[in-house]
Symmetry: C2
Subunit: 143 residues, 2 copies
Amino acid sequence: MKNKELRKVGLKVTIPRIKILGILESNPNLHLTAEEVYRALLESGEDIGLATVYRVLTQFETAGLVKRHNFEGGSAVFELDDGAHHDHIVCLECGHVEEFVDDVIENRQKAIADQHGYKITDHSLIIYGSCSRHECPHRNEEG
Amino acid sequence: MKNKELRKVGLKVTIPRIKILGILESNPNLHLTAEEVYRALLESGEDIGLATVYRVLTQFETAGLVKRHNFEGGSAVFELDDGAHHDHIVCLECGHVEEFVDDVIENRQKAIADQHGYKITDHSLIIYGSCSRHECPHRNEEG
DNA sequence: ATGTATGCAAAACATTTGCACCTGG
DNA sequence: CCAGGTGCAAATGTTTTGCATACAT
């Protein structure tokens, strides 16, 4: 239940928050921009302002419900944070995003941070490429 | 000689380009924002517009002379591209950046991209943390 | 009731672009 | 000389903020 998730992190339960959480939950594999969340809300008939979308997403990020990523191309994207860390591989041609985790890489990162005298807060690994080998559903949107 | 570098990549040799290249070369370990490059130019008495800084940096990026990174915090940063790839470890407290390369990670990335059917164009690995263990020169700027 | 959240519009940034002028080859 | 580069200011796109109103508790 979304109400519980919100309460748990100390946020008042409001329509915008519930709806935005809903959008993110119903697109578990997608990485949505604020604009996309906003449009999704409009489409489901909700009258929620873009500013609120930004505010709520930022609050969710602070609360640890959501992760924000700065991929190439202007807008930040948001995805639900299920607590399980993962990295991203992004197609530069169509924007499709896949996730992965690799323990070897994770461990090397810890070692490297240690070597340099840093305490890791977080890390971001993004592989950019083209997914031409699989049939990308976004492919046809261009023409 | 900077003139040669510019010619080599097919760019006309102009004052702004030489100066900007100079700024980047004299700060080989720094990752400068366009704004910082701009200010450095002003300080060295050059009257070069911010728009030109952006234009030139973008041209340099296209020409492969410079790399642009999107670390956290708004502005993109630029550094000279010596051809040798490396990743970054960034201190979130003071902004200090160190570079590293790790072959194990590099290889795993190739393997992962392959597994997912992507052809790698590029990748970006940024470790965020705090460099509290070494004496960071930026530390004192806060108070 | 009351403090917080929201919507709107305006502001704040980072970056790009149009255009008249200047400069390098 | 002429294409291309530059400076300035204005435009753009994204994200943030101020303020009056609406809502959750």
